[in-house]
């Protein structure tokens, strides 16, 4: 057993070796997430997709809102923007319309995108703006202390619902599909291979792409509902995940009580994007002069 005197003195942060293949794209000092939270692996998945597509740091931009996942914009060395609460999609829309060649990714949490920014989300789906939205869904407001979120299931214990939640939750996949998104998928956060292929498909899609990533919060949600630590909670969610190909979006169940979470690609119907339509309108108006 090591005593306190034998522990070596903390080294300065300059001594962190930078050998990792992604060290040029990521700011390794800014990974401040809880040990075991899958937000970090979602960040590396996105970055390796950028590397695989051959995009340099001038070709893409990452926008994030407020919350645990909102902190992730600081982890990128590329252009990244930490916006106001719920307004990640409006900022990304402006970026995309100002520079249509840019690959814009919105990385935010369920509380940010669907509680305060729900209106922006459904209208971005309706307009079919060419951005990729990754929602890290942990069913709770993690950073502010574990309050009840619009994705918290019925009967779950949180800080603001000590006797169990009574509000029915959003089904994010059904909401995005009904609003008109042209690519909708849901993957568990530990299934990194399928998640990467899905992100690459979303980059190719000419339109609004929505990917929901399940990353359970063991610090707030798992502690209140007695689900154990990071590894035990991943086991718990792995027993409920059912990957069904070509499942219609209204059958995409997400229910912890039944023990059934349907994952897969639900909508893949590419249609014309918003910035293309604006360009056509601009050309038409200039011809009439």
């Amino acid at each position: 057993m090591t005593t306190i005197d034998e522990i070596p003195a903390p080294k300065s942060t300059d001594e962190i070796p930078e050998d990792h293949p992604l060290h040029e794209r990521l700011n390794l000092h800014r990974f401040i997430f809880c040990p075991g939270c899958l937000i970090g692996s979602a960040i590396t998945s996105i970055t390796s997709c950028f590397v695989e597509r051959g995009l340099t740091s001038k070709d893409y931009a990452v926008v994030s809102g407020i919350g645990c996942t909102g902190r992730s914009s600081g982890c990128f060395n590329s252009p990244a923007f930490h916006t106001t609460h719920g307004r990640a999609i409006p900022f990304a829309t402006g970026l995309k319309l100002a520079n249509p060649k840019l690959e814009v990714v919105v990385l935010s949490g369920d509380g940010d995108l669907f509680a305060i920014g729900g209106n922006h989300f459904i209208h971005a789906c309706r307009r079919n703006i060419e951005i990729t939205v990754l929602c890290i869904n942990n069913n709770v407001y993690g950073m502010t202390g574990g309050q009840c979120a619009p994705t918290t299931q019925i009967g779950d214990l949180t800080t603001t619902t000590p006797y169990g939640n009574i509000e029915p939750p959003f089904n994010l996949v059904s909401l995005a599909a009904a609003s008109g998104a042209s690519y909708v998928a849901r993957w568990p956060g530990y299934d990194t291979l399928r998640l990467r292929n899905s992100i690459l498909k979303a980059f190719d899609n000419p339109g609004f792409s929505f990917i929901e990533v399940l990353a359970p919060c063991f610090t707030q949600y798992g502690r209140k509902n007695k689900l154990g630590d990071a590894v035990q909670m991943l086991d718990w969610i792995k027993n409920q995940v059912r990957i069904i190909p070509n499942c219609p979006p209204h059958e995409a169940e997400f229910d912890f009580k039944k023990g059934r979470i349907v994952c897969g690609e639900f909508v893949d119907a590419p249609r014309e994007g918003f910035s293309q339509k604006i360009q056509q309108l601009r050309d038409m108006a200039q011809k009439k002069k």
Partner: protein
């Protein structure tokens, strides 16, 4: 299928590449996700070592058994582990 087109089922050829796991202990959070996801149990948490943030880093206890699936590299939330081929490392050093 014709008898002439049949191919015998043979065991897979021996792997010609050797892989090595590299861990950056200063960056590691000790969350045990790589230990859980490794298919051949190469990794473990080193309970006697500390990094500068007073956390126990992971360590490769059976490095010869690495099959190079890169599952640990993809799942690691703190960007502290990666897998390369030994040949590539030797070329870089020489």
């Amino acid at each position: 299928m014709l008898r002439s087109q049949r191919k015998p089922i043979l065991p897979p050829p021996p792997a010609d590449k050797e892989y090595v796991v590299i861990i950056l202990p200063e960056q590691c959070d000790g969350c045990e996700l790589c230990v859980e996801f490794c298919p051949t149990d190469v990794l473990e948490i080193d309970m006697e070592a500390y990094n500068s943030r007073m956390l126990h880093p992971a360590i490769a206890v059976k490095p010869d058994e690495c099959v190079g699936c890169q599952q640990c590299e993809r799942i690691c939330p703190s960007v502290s582990i990666f897998v390369t081929e030994i040949q590539l490392l030797q070329e870089e050093s020489s």
